[in-house]
Each structure stands twice: as C-alpha cells, then as structure tokens.
C-alpha cells in the first residue's frame, strides 16, 4: 500500500515546490545560494584587483545592476547622474573597510592566542602573566576611539616615515595605524574569548591526557585547543562583526573607508540617502561573514560537543 502511494507521487507531474527542491532551491538552501553567488562575486573582484590595481572588490555589483537595467535601455548613469559615482565611491570604501577588519581580526587572533595561553597558565611566568592581564584590562577598559588616536599619534614618529617611504599605493600610515589599533583592541577581547574556551573544556580531559603520559604542551595542542576552537567559533563571529562595525571609527584619523567615504559623498551632493546605502554595504558584509562562520560551525561540529543546532 505504502509503496504504491509513493510511486503515484513520483510519476505524477512535479509540483512547483518539488521542482524547486529538485533544483536545490528549498527555503533553507535559498540563503546559501545567494551567499554562494555573493562569495563568488567577491572572489571575481579579488582576481580582477590583481590585474587592474585601480579596481575595487565590489565593482562587479555595479555591473550587475547595470546588466539588469540594460533591457529597459537604461543604466545607473541615465537614471541619476550621481548614482555611479556614489556607488563606485562607497564600493571603494567598503573594500578598504573589509580589508582593514579582516586583517586586524587575523592579526589580533594570533596575538590573542598567545595572550590566552599565558593567561590560562598556572605559573606567573616571570611577570608575563601580569603584563598580559594588564594589556587585556587596558584595552577593554578604554574607548576604542581613544586607542586609535593614541596609536595614530604615538607611533607617528616611529612608523610614519618608514611606511611613507615604502610607497605602497593604498597603504598609508593612517591605514596602518587604524589597522594596528583595531588589531590591538580585538586581541584583548579575543584573548578573553579563547581563554574562556580553554577553561570550558572539562578538567577530566587534561587529567586523561596527562595520565596517558602526554606532556602539558602536547595536551594543550592535541586535546584542549582542538576542542576549544569548536566552542569559540560563535563568540569569535560576534567579535569579527564587532570589529567590522567598529572599524568605522578609524575614519576619525582620516582613513577613507566606508564611513568616511559616505561623509565625503554626502557633503558633496547633500544627499542623506548615501548613508543608507553605506549602511547596506555594512549589512551585506556582516551578514555574509556571519553566514560563513555559521557554515564553519556546522562543519566543525562533532557528536557530544556540538554548538550548532541545525
């Protein structure tokens, strides 16, 4: 009985839903399709950037908007003469925002890992532990804007000339100082996240590993850290998005990233909607990053130690 029922369904004409599902367009996977296309476009943008240094990562999106308008005999420029300039400018700013935040999170992560390992150590390590604790306390208890200003003016004499002499296009001292300040700030927060991840692993794991004869560094490397990594992916995602949004503060030292660019364009055209489009850029990047890390979370999941729930 049950078998014949199934057969009839399969042989019958496909419903819209079924056809969609057959193509992989379910409600759940729809978001992933959009995401994959978006990531693909960014990759295209990156490759283009290698060959044409003037391009920016989000150029491709402007092309696509133009492509949709083409059948109607329109383009962005003919609808509003300001649109291509604004979009192009914001895309430039978004590229810089993206690079600055990714770079500072990655640099910050390595610094944070070192800090966390010092902080979870039972020994004082000749004052190193107190120094690490002071570092974390300082960067968590002062405003990011002040930190950016301190780094910008504090390192100007040491690094200012060196970086100007390097003469890399697009890499000014302002960008360097802004990225450094963000990296130092996020390192303090990430150190606490990693520390909590390490401490969340039950002591039984350490006992078992040490009981089998593994040294303390082997225990850390093969037993504790691999499990801690899985626990800290969600809070690290949070931190990643925080840094992305906080990076708007580096506009204060004259880095022309998304926020600064919005301000400039708004001042040029007296058009408040520029900020709205700027916000949309932030949203798209943050949303994409959160989706990617969610995917990572599910990839890393193991039975009995899962964090992701779908």
């Amino acid at each position: 009985m049950e078998n014949s029922n199934e057969k009839i369904e399969i042989q019958g004409p496909l419903s819209t839903n079924r056809r969609r599902r057959a193509l992989g367009f379910t409600n759940i996977s729809f978001g992933w399709w959009i995401l994959s296309i978006f990531v693909l476009l960014i990759i295209i943008g990156f490759i283009r950037k290698i060959f044409t240094p003037n391009a920016n990562y989000f150029d491709v999106f402007i092309w696509i908007i133009n492509l949709f308008l083409m059948p109607f005999g329109l383009s962005l420029g003919t609808i509003d003469y300001r649109a291509p300039i604004i979009l192009r400018g914001l895309a430039d700013g978004a590229s810089l925002t993206f690079i600055i935040s990714i770079l500072s999170v990655v640099v910050g992560f390595f610094l944070a890992a070192l800090l966390a390992i010092v902080l979870v150590n039972k020994n004082h390590l000749y004052g190193l532990k107190i120094l690490a604790q002071m570092y974390v306390d300082f960067f968590r208890s002062t405003p990011l804007l002040v930190q950016i200003l301190i780094v910008y003016f504090g390192f100007a004499q040491i690094f200012g000339n060196i970086i100007r002499n390097l003469n890399i296009p697009g890499f000014s001292y302002e960008v360097f100082a802004g990225t450094l300040a963000l990296a130092l700030n996020t390192a303090a927060y990430q150190a606490e996240i990693i520390r909590s991840g390490i401490l969340a692993i039950p002591t039984g794991q350490t006992e078992a590993a040490r009981g089998l004869g593994l040294t303390s560094s082997q225990t850390m490397r093969y037993v504790i850290l691999p499990q801690a990594i899985r626990l800290i992916v969600p809070p690290l995602t949070n931190e990643l998005i925080n840094v992305l949004l906080n990076s708007s503060l580096v506009s204060a030292i004259g880095v022309v990233e998304l926020t600064k660019m919005s301000q400039t364009l708004q001042a040029k055209y007296f058009l408040w909607q520029v900020y709205l489009i700027g916000a949309l850029f932030y949203f798209v990047i943050a949303y994409t990053l959160s989706k990617i890390t969610k995917k990572l979370e599910i990839k890393l999941r193991i039975p009995g130690l899962g964090v992701a729930n779908d």
């Binding site: 039950p202 794991q205 006992e207 009981g211 089998l212 004869g213």
Partner: protein, 261 residues
C-alpha cells in the same frame, strides 16, 4: 595491622608501588590525614579500595601517579622515587594506566584516534604497530565495529570500555580504576565489570580499583583496603572484609551500602 599475614605469599617479590607516609592537605581540609598512608602494591594483585565519598580514595589514587601533587611523603615505582623533582613524571605515567569515573574520552577524536593519539605522541610507535594494537585492544573490549565512531555516539558502558582499551594499548604495568562504574546505568555496569574481570583472569594485570561494587570486589580482589576520613582503617583479604568484618566503622559502611542495594 594485618599486613604481615596478607603479604605472606608475596614477601619475596619486590613491590610495584610503595607509598611511605603519603599526606595530602588541600586548602581547607585534610584529604589524607597525617601521619599519612603507607601502602605496598605487588605485581599481579588486585587491590580494591572502598570507603564512603570524601574519604580520600580518589585522592590517594591520583597522588600515586601525581595527577595530584602530594603535600608530603614518598612514592616509589619499581624502586624509583617518583615524588622527587628531578624525575620526568610523563615517563612514569606511560606505565601507569588510569580509567576515570567520567570516561574522559577525547570528544573530538574517533574511537580509533583516541587510542592512536598516545601511541603516536607518547610511545612514538611505527604506524603498522599502532594499527595492530588498536585492533587488538578493541577486540579485547568487544568494540571493533565502533572504530570510526565518535565517543558522543556511544553509550556510557561502551565509552568506558573504549577508555579501558585506550589504557590497555599503552601496555601499562598497572592500571588504576577510579570508580569506573559509578557514572553508568545499572544495566551497563555489567559489561564494564566483565571486561575488568577478563583483565584479571586472562591477562593477569595489576589493578587498583576504587569501587562500590561489593560483589565484584568479592570476586576478583586479592586484597581490600577500607578508607574513612582520610586514613586507612582496615586492610585485609576480601573474605575477611566482606563476610566477617572485624572493624566497627567498616561494618557500618558495609551495612549502609548493602541497605542501598
């Protein structure tokens, strides 16, 4: 003490572990009371430690491979003092297996990798030898089909058997069991106890077992130690301890446990 009588047949052999005046003081209470515990563990014997919770059984066990640092006292393993600072304790621990109450399998590794990890990183064996041992120990505990499963996918009893297999693969000289069945459902304790019995009857391992399983202790123990409030109260053969307890506190403890059952 009845130590003399108990050791009559073993007096010639060298003890595997010898503890002298072991004393442990935590911040706020004495886990093992001064003047401390004196104990000898001989090869091929099964030493069962019983006692109510908080009596220092687990502390004593953990002090013996220095998972907990004793406050004072000496521990000798095969005549070598392992409490001295100059000794590399990791070298000693590979000869002393330990099975825990909460299994403590590495959750991020498969059953196979759980067993492989210490063989690779501690004993540094060649790959073919590792694979041979993994197969062999999993056969011993009857879990060969779970080789590629994660610990989270196994039942408690199966997890504990994997933990035993992981210890066996190291070919230790003696194995500590810290309440191996306390975290298990009553129906699952049987399979773990059966594996432990096999270790004694077939492989003649030296075991030190902290347990509340009186029938099991009666069956396999060659010597029983009763601890209470941080000191060894009574030591003797299982027949004496369980059938005809001569000590008041021991009698009370046993009647409490049997009441529960």
């Amino acid at each position: 003490m009845t130590e003399e009588k108990v050791h009559e047949n073993l007096s010639g052999t060298e003890p595997l572990i010898e503890i002298k005046n072991l004393y442990k003081f935590f911040k706020d209470f004495q886990a093992i009371k001064a003047p401390g515990v004196n104990l000898k563990i001989f090869p091929k014997e099964v030493l069962v430690i019983i006692g109510s919770s908080g009596s220092g059984k687990s502390t004593l066990l953990r002090c013996m491979n220095r998972l907990i640092e004793p406050t004072s006292g000496q521990i000798f393993f095969e005549g070598v003092e392992i409490t001295s600072r100059s000794i590399n304790i990791d070298e000693i621990r590979r000869n002393i297996g330990m099975v825990f109450q909460q299994f403590n399998l590495f959750m991020h590794l498969t059953v196979g990798d759980n067993i492989r990890l210490p063989l690779q990183k501690v004993l540094k064996l060649p790959d073919d030898e590792i694979e041979k041992r993994v197969k062999q120990v999993l056969e011993t505990v009857n879990l060969l089909e779970k080789l590629d499963n994660f610990p989270g996918e196994l039942s408690g009893g199966q997890q504990q058997r994997v933990a035993i297999a992981r210890v066996l693969a190291m070919r230790p000289k003696l194995i500590f069991f810290d309440e191996p069945t306390s975290a298990l459902d009553p129906e699952l304790t049987g399979e773990v106890l059966q594996v432990m019995k096999r270790l004694v009857t077939e492989f003649h391992y030296t075991l030190v077992v902290v347990t509340h399983e009186i029938p099991f202790a009666k069956e396999v123990a060659s010597r029983v130690i009763f601890m209470d409030e941080g000191e060894v109260i009574f030591e003797g053969k299982p027949t004496v301890v369980f059938d005809n307890p001569p000590n008041e506190r021991l009698r009370k403890f046993l009647s409490k446990i049997l009441e529960m059952k």
